[in-house]
């Protein structure tokens, strides 16, 4: 630690000495939405005249050092808002709140002198960042319900797990290697309905950033990506509402000031109504039950999910603001008849309490406490005499402080610390009968602590070169076992001109908790499990390089190449018992992986037609040959120790997104995706197991090389039409969208159907979604 402090001191001393001794003043404050007073994250504040600029941080705060001149024109802008400008004659430090007006349509777009369309993207040292505005997400055609995670899947380097799945696979990483945070609180299972929908209600979300690489030092704990979702804060100007009625779910959001210009609240809810339909189907078929053995109707279980988001914020004074937000979401799945009762509930709870304090115009601090909880419970009651309940849970309490310090116009320094307490209940089981003859319980509980301390400096060396140098030291403690990780973070940008820059970066990450699931899909029964003496932390080192340039006036082209090494990857031995097992340690196997690829991203954010084209060419590999295990047995090797592609390895991945704003009333949208088929395992042979105990021989598939086959290529086009209406009470729109417009039969999974009598077999493919039209009515007042 002393060495690090010394290095930091030298770094600051060296870089500060380079500064010219001129009089400078600080312009600081917040950039907000004129209509509702919401802070704008990532808004640009810059002076073309002095060639200095900055972005608002994730709390909407900015601080900009300006040399004292007669007058300095400062331009502030944010995507989807009419840019603004103001001229200052600085004689002292100044704190201001700047307001921007939302563009109601691209037709309102104002071209402002000195504004360069893609300035921030070209100038930033940040690599591997994909951002999604909710406005964009709402326009993109969806499978019945606007889904932010699925919109992220349209960005290069980000892949879906399969047809309709909201799971995310980033640059060769697996689904559990994504850190998903909602207002800084970790969301452990971000999907509903076994992965078909994400937990984020688009009405409550302000914006989403996905980091695929170049991870800022404040983030840690996962290997492959950070998905940072920020909730809206609520309208500070007036009471307002919005909502929507769709085929799958309905939404309602209410927001308004607690005290005008001082604080606000937002309350948002969403609920599906599959259950209302399936109950009617069950009722209509109640006399045609398949239990009679006549192959009749099988009762459809009840299912629904809901989400609730709430947030309040209040300015305690000029320098202090507090925020409290919460999320509660639940999936409810049940089956009930006279003798058998089955309930399956799962969901997340998150709470965030945040305090922003401004020490002075150059030092901003945010202190946050978060609570996260994910649990599932399966309750089963039979004949009202036997019961069992099985479940798992993870709870986090996280305290963190982040400082944001601008010692001068060349440096933006962030440093902070966080401490997390993890509580795990794994495979909790209770079973009992009324007569007391059955009574047993099982399960494991763990408490672990995770730590992180970091510092990073975004340093503008000169007009051409900017570097972001930082490091994070992470630690983990569980049952007397300690792990420490040194995670350097470095990125650099070299500007060839105002419109062309080269970028490069290297990051290292550690992951101390692991998802226990052996399924190709993300299931609610997948549980989180801590590192311990036997299960070592996973690690990843990623290097990336790229070029970003503006093409003409409207296009931005980014190309990045990356290589990622994955250490101590976890998987599970063949035949692993993962569901209710008090000795899960023995089911893990350990290996390593690597991934590399190229991502091309061409975007157009201005004009009547906006959108992007993404193309990723990538390879991903895993090998489980026992190198990482101290107690390796031959059975622990996967694929007999040979390297194999993980299921989500995708050689080619293309996405095209186009949004066309025809006029104030009509918008047309379309997306097209293409991806190499998933790597899958198919049997190459079959054995006849005679099993004389039952006199019921079985044809058993023989699986050899893991994931050595490719499912057919996946491609699909979605399209939508949005009709905007203005009413006396507000505005509304009617959105008609078509999922899978050309009715492509994309493989959900492939199986082989056997006929034991003839020993004949036929391969079959299952498809989930044909062309699905959906209509949604959205309103806002």
């Amino acid at each position: 630690m002393q060495k690090i402090r010394l290095l930091l001191g030298i770094w600051l001393l060296f870089s500060c000495s380079l500064l010219a001794q001129e009089t400078t003043y600080t312009l600081s404050g917040y950039v907000k939405d004129m209509d509702n007073g919401e802070n704008l994250i990532g808004a640009s504040v810059y002076s073309a005249q002095l060639k200095v600029g900055t972005l608002t941080n994730e709390y909407g705060f900015f601080s900009l050092r300006l040399r004292s001149e007669d007058s300095v024109k400062v331009i502030f802008s944010y995507a989807g808002y009419t840019p603004g400008s103001k001229t200052y004659l600085l004689k002292k430090d100044l704190q201001e709140t700047l307001y921007l007006t939302p563009e109601t349509s691209v037709l309102d777009e104002v071209v402002i002198e000195g504004k360069q369309t893609y300035k921030e993207e070209i100038a930033s040292t940040q690599m591997g960042l994909a951002t999604i505005s909710v406005r964009e997400a709402k326009l993109i055609p969806a499978l019945g319900e606007v889904d932010i995670l699925k919109t992220l899947q349209l960005k290069p380097g980000v892949q879906s797990g399969g047809e309709g799945q909201a799971g995310i696979f980033v640059r060769g990483g697996s689904n559990d290697q994504n850190l998903i945070v909602l207002d800084e609180a970790v969301v452990y299972n971000a999907t509903h309905l076994f992965g078909l929908f994400s937990t984020f209600n688009s009405d409550a979300v302000k914006d989403v950033n996905l980091y695929k690489g170049g991870f800022p030092a404040q983030y840690g704990g996962r290997l492959s990506s950070v998905i940072d979702v920020r909730l809206k804060e609520g309208n500070r100007q007036r009471f307002a509402g919005s909502g929507g009625i769709g085929l799958i779910a309905s939404r309602l959001t209410l927001e308004g000031p607690i005290k005008k210009e001082k604080g606000s609240f937002i309350l948002s809810g969403r609920r599906t109504y599959f259950d209302l339909i399936t109950r009617q189907i069950n009722r209509a078929n109640e006399n045609n039950d398949s239990d009679d053995g006549d192959g009749g109707f099988s009762q459809i279980p009840d299912y629904y999910f809901y989400d609730l988001n709430a947030k309040v914020n209040y300015d305690l004074g000029e320098n202090d603001r507090i925020f409290i937000s919460g999320y509660f979401g639940r999936d409810v799945f049940g089956f009930d008849d006279d003798n058998f009762n089955f309930d399956f509930l799962w969901g997340n709870v998150t709470t965030t309490a945040r305090w922003n304090h401004l020490f002075n115009s150059r030092l901003f601090v945010n202190t946050t406490f978060t609570y996260s909880d994910y649990d599932y419970v399966i309750r089963n009651e039979f004949a009202q005499a036997f019961r069992f309940e099985v479940g798992s849970q993870i709870r986090d309490m996280n305290l963190k402080t982040d400082f944001y310090w601008l010692p001068n116009e060349q440096h933006t320094i962030r440093y902070g610390v966080n401490v997390v307490r993890h509580e795990f209940d794994v495979g909790r089981l209770e079973a009992g009968s009324d007569d007391g003859t059955i009574n047993f319980s099982a399960g494991q509980s763990f408490v672990a602590e995770e730590f992180g301390v970091y510092v990073a400096d975004d340093y503008e060396v000169n007009d051409k070169l900017k570097v972001n140098v930082g490091a994070r030291i992470s630690g983990f403690h569980n049952s007397g076992t300690w792990y420490w990780g040194f995670e350097p973070r470095f990125s650099a940008r070299y500007s060839l001109s105002e419109k062309v820059s080269f970028k490069a970066g290297v990051t290292r990450m550690f992951q101390y908790i692991h998802l226990v699931g052996n399924s190709a899909a993300s299931l609610p029964t997948d549980v989180w499990y801590p590192s311990n003496e036997r299960i070592k932390p996973q690690s990843a080192t990623q290097v990336a390089g790229g070029i970003t340039f503006q093409l003409g006036e409207q296009w931005l082209v980014t190309n990045e190449v990356f290589y990622k090494w994955l250490g101590n990857q976890v998987d599970f031995r063949d035949g692993a018992q993962l569901f209710v097992n008090d000795n899960l340690d023995d089911e893990f196997v350990f290996g390593r992986g690597w991934a590399y690829g190229n991502e091309l991203y061409i975007q157009k954010k201005v004009g009547r037609i906006t959108g992007w084209i993404g193309y990723t060419l990538a390879w991903s590999w895993r090998v489980f040959d026992g190198t990482f295990s101290g107690e390796f047995r031959e059975l622990d090797a996967i694929n007999e120790g040979r390297k194999f592609h993980p299921r989500f390895d995708r050689r080619h991945d293309v996405s095209v997104v186009a949004l066309y704003e025809l006029n104030d009333r009509w918008s047309l949208t379309a997306t097209w995706v293409y991806g190499t088929g998933n790597a899958i395992t198919l049997p190459t042979g079959r054995a006849v197991v005679l099993d004389p105990i039952t006199s019921d021989p079985r044809l058993v598939p023989i699986y050899e090389d893991r994931n050595s086959f490719r499912a057919p290529a996946y491609h699909r086009m979605d399209a939508g039409v949005v009709y905007n209406m203005t009413n006396k009470w507000g505005s509304s729109d009617l959105t008609l969208s078509f999922y899978n417009l050309y009715n492509r039969r994309n493989a959900y999974f492939i199986f082989i159907e056997d006929d034991f009598e003839t020993l004949q077999s036929q391969a079959r493919q299952v498809q989930l979604f044909p062309i699905i039209p959906s209509i949604t009515y959205n309103f806002k007042f």
Partner: protein
């Protein structure tokens, strides 16, 4: 979990409608690589019963349909200093039909009986004419007796049946539980004169077949139950096989392999086998069985 998967699929079916239209399933052609055939052996040693062994081969998935019997191997089972050679013997059915069963049996049935020697290690050796060799080892297990069978009726005069036994707390135990019902079935067949005739024959229907271990009930009274599926007069057979870890893993991975072929959530896995040089199982088993008429 299997029941849960069924529910998930039912729900997906309900929400997407799959299963009710040709859109949702289509035949496809798969180009599988050549498969190198492996020997598959099954041999279950039960005290006081003759040693029987089946020997087959794995097949190419889309190869010619055939029962892949291997009937030209040298097979022996040894324990302590004794060796019993097994020879291939086709089964002769009561009607005189000779069935090429793939079963190997002792040369001398009287000397090929499994002894009640629970401490001996039994060794299997198989050598085929083309030079392939298999070996395996196992030990016998002691019977875990069924303590009692009970039933209880609901208001609809349907009963559920409970089978109870005591687990030995001194060791890790694995079980295979089989629950069957005797039934009658009308069979139609062609007689010697070419006439179609019907006959009612007694059959046994498997109602439950699963494995369990004693992780949650070590040394305790264990109860296996059924649904409310049985009426007064039904004949039920409850069988408890005491099995070893190797057979337990084999059965579970066979189930996993079969399930993965039809379950989108399944992870295909290899069959865990204690056979060196091939696949299958060579194991001791101990059986406890009770048959009752529900009254």
């Amino acid at each position: 979990m299997k029941r849960l998967n069924i529910y998930v699929l039912a729900l997906l079916a309900a929400t997407t409608g799959f299963g009710c239209s040709d859109f949702f399933q289509t035949d496809i052609e798969l180009d599988l690589p050549p498969h190198e055939r492996q020997l598959v052996v099954e041999c279950y040693l039960q005290p006081n019963f003759p040693i029987l062994l089946s020997l087959t081969e794995t097949l190419e998935y889309f190869g010619q349909p055939e029962l892949p019997l291997v009937n030209d191997a040298e097979v022996s089972v040894s324990w302590r200093n004794r060796t019993v050679n097994l020879i291939y013997g086709p089964l002769v059915l009561p009607d005189g039909t000779v069935l090429d069963s793939g079963i190997y049996q002792p040369e001398n049935l009287l000397t090929g009986i499994v002894p009640e020697d629970y401490n001996a290690t039994f060794t299997l050796n198989v050598r085929t004419k083309d030079g392939r060799e298999l070996t395996a080892e196992t030990q016998l297990l002691r019977e875990v007796p069924i303590d009692r069978i009970e039933w209880e009726f609901n208001d609809d005069s349907l009963a559920f049946v409970l089978t109870r036994f005591f687990d030995d707390g001194g060791q890790n135990n694995y079980y295979r539980r089989l629950f069957q019902v005797r039934d009658f079935q009308v069979e139609r067949f062609v007689d010697g004169q070419g006439q179609v005739v019907s006959d009612t024959i007694r059959v046994v229907n498997d109602e439950q077949d699963f494995t369990a271990d004693d992780r949650f009930s070590n040394g305790e009274l264990v109860t296996f139950g059924t649904g409310f599926n049985y009426e007064k007069g039904d004949t039920v057979i409850s069988t408890l096989y005491h099995i070893n870890r190797e057979y337990y893993d084999f059965l579970n991975t066979v189930d996993d392999a079969v399930a993965a072929n039809s379950n989108p959530f399944g992870q295909p896995s290899r069959i865990i086998s204690n056979i060196q040089g091939g696949t299958g199982i060579f194991t001791g088993i101990a059986v406890s069985r009770q048959e009752r008429i529900i009254e």
